[in-house]
Subunit: 363 residues, 2 copies
Amino acid sequence: MNLGLRYTSLVSSLPATTPFVGPEALERERGDAFRLRLGANESAFGISPKAAQAMRASVEHIAWYGDPEGYDLRRALAKRHGVRLEEVLIGAGIDEMLGNVVRMLVEPGTPVVSSLGAYPTFNYHVAGFGGALEAVPYRNDRIDLEALLDRVRKRQAPLVYLANPDNPMGTWHRADDLHNFIADLPDGTLLVLDEAYIEFAPATAFLPIDVGDPRVIRMRTFSKAHGMAGARIGYAIADAETIAAIGKIRNHFGINRIAQVGALASLMDEEFVADVVREVGLGRDEYHALAHRLSLDSLPSAANFVAIDVGDGDRARALLARLAKHGVFVRMPGVAPLDRCIRITVGTAPMRALFAEILEEVL
Amino acid sequence: MNLGLRYTSLVSSLPATTPFVGPEALERERGDAFRLRLGANESAFGISPKAAQAMRASVEHIAWYGDPEGYDLRRALAKRHGVRLEEVLIGAGIDEMLGNVVRMLVEPGTPVVSSLGAYPTFNYHVAGFGGALEAVPYRNDRIDLEALLDRVRKRQAPLVYLANPDNPMGTWHRADDLHNFIADLPDGTLLVLDEAYIEFAPATAFLPIDVGDPRVIRMRTFSKAHGMAGARIGYAIADAETIAAIGKIRNHFGINRIAQVGALASLMDEEFVADVVREVGLGRDEYHALAHRLSLDSLPSAANFVAIDVGDGDRARALLARLAKHGVFVRMPGVAPLDRCIRITVGTAPMRALFAEILEEVL
């Protein structure tokens, strides 16, 4: 019996899809837990002990809704970045904020520009609001800034997305190149600059924050360097008017109270994050050396993962399947030519040693 | 400098608004913490010790994203309610799920039926997707089922909302009346039956779950009886096709990992929830007795709060302001004639004693 709900035509037209299948679903499918969880760029280096302590303590107050204004955390973020409170938004991870930004600017048919093979969750939101995704190819495994700009102009797109450092490739652009890219953006086009991995990048990739330019919204997260992916908390910095517009549609009471407390404590623990960044740097070097030893190319990375080039998509997919059989969860880019790579999250030293062993075995 | 982002015409047309101002914002305004936080129907009875323990332990794994399928929790909920896994959705509180259901069915101009003075967050979502809210008056402080049905038919609305027990009045309908209401719903109209407070209601208000009827989606939460409002986790039960349609637009990785773990542990601790329900019943009785002592009417309540009738809206607003000056956070319905009441969350025995003292003083 289906009496037929009256879905919007947009929702009716959407396919059943998810941006990613979670590792737990894969584990249920294979009937066994993974030995190595290196596929979702989750931090292997835990969280700040101060954040952990604050989070455990905050369980006591979980009967209370979190502050919908996220005042304490936003004030600390504003201070850290030298901006005003009303220029900071917090969200349940970058994913939620991407959805809201898309909803703010995209209706059926609106052109939106990203890169072919870039973050699937952004594409998911664009499709979910009926946008026409224009995906320009990478150039030499890097986001092609010129091509993005060209497509934005050609399609008069109100929204363009890029991640720096990039996911899934790990490559990055220098701040001065980004600066020029932004300067050339047409008025009325918003760039979502996804900086989920920025803590792992060299200083030359850090674009100074300029909230005076309404063409940019910066997004950052506590999911990666801060090791809090499960908490779902991130933030955005932009012109106050942009932040206010998102406030007209966002789910105000949506952010977990423990996450807010933990993020604030972690933000204050700069030493912890610096340690994680150092460890990740060592791990990347090890992965590069491993690839070299196995006569494979690896891509330079400014993130907490390394893309290893195994030749072509079929070979990469087969390798992923073999790795999974050996209990290793890793992911790979979804489209050619990026899909000649597998993408391995930096694990701890013992995880890396085990991964190296298994990779050598299955190759 | 405002170069003017190209907002959708819908978002441009929306006012800057939030469904509620949080108590923290009020505290910042008044420069002092509240002595009694009895305004948001948060539980005063904490959380299950088993849930607290599970949540504290899960901080260790916060570097990992929560399972986007919420499998363990959904499986337990399916078992509890005698439905299939694919008939259960979890969300970051009822608020998030309301947003998704509205988005699924509402585009600019779509008529949506609710009650005048009912849950503001539902109205916020309807406005946010351009729906035309049709709010029918309460009848004798209860949701007017006949009037709702009449309006649904007249406007051919694809979506109608009601809470049982109701918020903000606390009144409720018997299951058999709801059953008849649903039976009379036109095909193709979805009822959101918000049961956030159902644990506090008498058995006669429990409508058996019937997922064979695609005209109903039931929503429940861990925010109230389970005392986990700050965790942001709730669930919905409906026809598998409805759940799948929401899966096409929801934020798959949006639910905090600690919340999932805590909800599962709390679900299993039936004794704890039964204790909370018992305590809340005692507290309601006390509030009724208090009102009687002060020669005020109080409304029968099947929720964790009691609405006390103080005569008219002006008097209620003035009373709220005086209570706030004495450090008491309570809320009241937003529109007449409901706004002749103030709504007080059931606190612990000492909280109730203090509230009684302050109320007597300010009256």
